[in-house]
Symmetry: C3
Subunit: 373 residues, 3 copies
């Protein structure tokens, strides 16, 4: 799992004035909005007795721990310890890590890492968000598989005819013509020719008089750390999925999807659009959950790659560099899941690096740059 | 988890002439009474094939393993191997560890360790037991949390207004005035001023004409290894809880409670008293189960303490000494829970130390003084 | 768990033209038959993306992965990669391990190891199979216990009076007269005198006029790696059970049983015969699942043995030799169960040894000869 990235943790309309827990990279966070509507992301772990802040309540822009009522402001500094006499000073160490958070493209994103602002990788663009030509639906599903397995699965065009033969792949024409990859440090994309099956159901009926092309171009792309774009050009219009693969733990993934279409853009067609997306997820799920080893190998030679795996190989190569750079978190130092822990480590937030006078003010130790093996 | 203590393993009236399994410190024991009524506590693990004695049957004062019928007397010595010809001698190694057991204050206690009798820490006093002014109820609940977390939770007065605001805390007045701790090697106690909410339900109705004080004194105390006393002075009388936090495994606790009251001492009020105690447990449970890290840290600096945490800090300091003395059991060498084991280790009973001629007579190895890290 | 043996993985009539998953030694296999009816056993793990072949489909004698449709022939060589242009060559590394498989005695057996044909231990004989004097029933059950625990349990005559006192043991006469063991490198057998209880139910009623002997001879035998024969001589005829203890993981066993009888050989009595066998299994299950430690110890001195345990002690001695020879697989290097893995290791098949030019052609590493500790 990679730190130092912006992670889309929740649909923006799900984050409000009720604290909401988000789990990512094997750590828990609390999300909420200030009275002015700004999204906030704090470590969910009270430094006093490890209470879960997301089970607490908001008091103005502060959040109060459910256990002893300690209140933290939106920068993570504790501003009230109710059991103390009011004249007693709040200890400097009474603070939790606060992670930069923004709302963009219909999602709340948090920067999980300690890089200074100008060194942070970008948030991927989602130009369809807010474009009146497009209509969006949301859907989500928990998959009992590693997030890099579910991520690579969506990047992968060549499984379509076999796993989605009844939905949008064509088992009679599984060959993938060679494609060219456009990539930069944070993403890779390709236009891939797929043979489409005849559309079915509502969409099929409504497009029954349109000619069906021999090939359609599907644009497949990944955006680090965990976003996949899938752009399918149907006879009746464009279907563009943004797929967020959120690592709950090493082997559990929360997949959130924003699905855009520029046809049947009325609310009446939302249910059908959502059902189609969920059908695809349900076809992938048993196959991906059965993959072994459970975790995406580190060595390229641990699996066998062919030409059509180019986007995944590009991901594994880029990942290997980032692991060398110390961006990997994982192995034993996870807070949630697995064996019970005796001490809590967390992902360092920017304040740890930016604010030297706080150097000794942190109760929870930062997770080590992971030795991934 | 600490060895060398008396552990209250079961309510006395639950231990009789049917073998009963008790789990504690990650090890299993069988409890039963002799024909004369004396409580017996043996390691539950037959040395022949690891059968669970508590699934067996009593024969006089002996217990027979359910698997091959080996019979052990109340000192743990095997006295019969049914498959053997009757003239064949019982091997010296055919013995399980027997732990000193007594009935006191309505509980069956077993000494889980090998200290000689005069070096054993005391069983805490429960003066309300047998006092005709008091009426007792029993209750119990399994909590998916570490026993030191549930133990500290009951010791802790300052969570009351937040977690029990609807039961007996007062969220409007959460401040805890400084208190003085009375302690010795095995216990610590303090009188703490809490602001009470108005009592509700049956007790509220029956005390509706009594004046309500601004503060009530709650006496909170811990008794090693795992007992907490909570003495609440209500307008209508005294409610005194003894709370036994039995470690089933590292992260599972069986909480047993003896609850005494000196008001409404008729059986008719038992159900209401039990329900009130269970309500408190059910309020604590989700908060304690969500605490992270799951296990109580060893280093004081892994959490942040304030004045009102004095009793818990005293516990952690005393625990640190006992760990240095080698009283800790834990880590990998647990018999129950977690990964399947290839060999069984058990907590040494006094006979191993008292009886040098038995030195080579033990099949199961004693668990090492735990390196707790 | 021991490699280099023939394992009975499935009842022969359950293996056909639908791929079927079998789990053994903590690894997954796919079983199917060629069009000519020959049973095939391949590693279930596609080398491309770790897809589970047993979720795929047959195409002639080949099996296609459900994920990307790669087709493997019955020797494990990949013969088709659908995403590739048809003129592109199949890489040499596109192959999975194929394990020798045969149908014999009503079971499909696979050789899980890499020994050359002439060094392989034999498949045990089951002379009742195909003998018209005998009628067979099948039954199976999953037991949450280590396979060596369930295996030794069936070898063990002395538990019969205690665990099966209501079925075929006699609790009033539990003594086991000394017996002589006949053994070779791969098996051990003994004729053991047991006192029988009066038969009940249908069999009892039908034999109500036959005299009841004081002792009956039970022939108990084990055949490496995991087969137990239990031959019970009832007043009305012979009941002969072959019991296959298949290790799904370290602590989960699939017990398959072939049960032969030479009385009431009509189909009408099958249901009763199957019920009697299942009753025995259900009596054993709670006792065996409660055994501690969960895994059969490596050191003889970790449990206490008596004369009647001779067959089990012979097994443990023979096992110790095979562990020294490097036939043990286990410990951390299991593919299924337990913690999620980052790389897949598998049991080497004979081709790895027989075919030096394939030395560099294997994607999955072979599991190490286990250091069992």
């Amino acid at each position: 799992m990679l730190k130092n990235f912006w992670y889309a943790l929740e649909f923006a309309d799900k984050v409000g004035r009720e604290p909401r827990r988000a789990t990512c990279l094997g750590q828990e966070f609390v999300l909420y909005r200030t009275e002015a509507g700004t999204p906030i992301c704090l470590s969910d772990l009270c430094v006093h007795r490890g209470g879960s802040l997301s089970m607490g309540t908001l008091n103005g822009d502060c959040i109060a721990c459910p256990y002893h009522g300690w209140q933290y402001d939106s920068d993570g500094a504790c501003v009230k310890i109710p059991a103390n006499a009011s004249e007693r000073k709040i200890p400097r160490k009474a603070r939790v890590d606060a992670y930069p958070a923004v709302e963009r493209h219909g999602m709340v994103w948090a920067f999980l890492g300690d890089l200074p602002e100008d060194e942070r990788p970008p948030i991927p663009d989602i130009p369809q968000w807010g474009d009146p030509a497009f209509r969006a639906v949301q859907t989500e599903m928990v998959i009992d598989a590693n997030y890099e397995r579910t991520f690579e699965n969506v990047v992968d065009a060549s499984h379509t005819p076999f796993v989605h033969g009844t939905a949008f792949g064509n088992p009679a024409k599984p060959e993938i013509p060679d494609f060219r990859i456009r990539s930069d440090d944070w993403s890779a994309e390709a236009d891939i020719q797929l043979s489409p099956p005849p559309p079915k159901g509502l969409w099929g009926w409504l497009s029954r008089n349109k000619p069906r092309p021999e090939y359609v171009t599907v644009t497949n792309g990944w955006y680090l750390p965990n976003v996949v774009k899938l752009h399918v050009r149907l006879p009746i219009g464009d279907l563009i999925l943004y797929d967020f693969n959120i690592p709950l733990s090493q082997d559990r993934t929360l997949v959130k999807i924003l699905g855009f279409r520029n046809f049947f853009t009325g609310a009446w067609a939302d249910r059908d659009a959502r059902k189609r997306i969920e059908k695809i997820l349900l076809q992938d799920r048993p196959v991906v959950e059965a993959q072994r080893p459970e975790l995406l190998p580190f060595d390229l030679s641990d699996e066998l790659h062919v030409r059509s795996d180019g986007l995944q190989v590009a991901y594994r190569r880029r990942r290997a560099q980032l692991i060398k750079d110390g961006w990997w978190v994982g192995g034993d130092d996870v807070v949630t899941g697995g064996a019970p822990q005796r001490s809590a480590t967390i992902i360092a937030s920017p304040a740890r690096r930016d604010n030297p006078e706080l150097a000794s003010a942190w109760v929870h130790k930062a997770r080590n740059p992971g030795d991934p093996r």
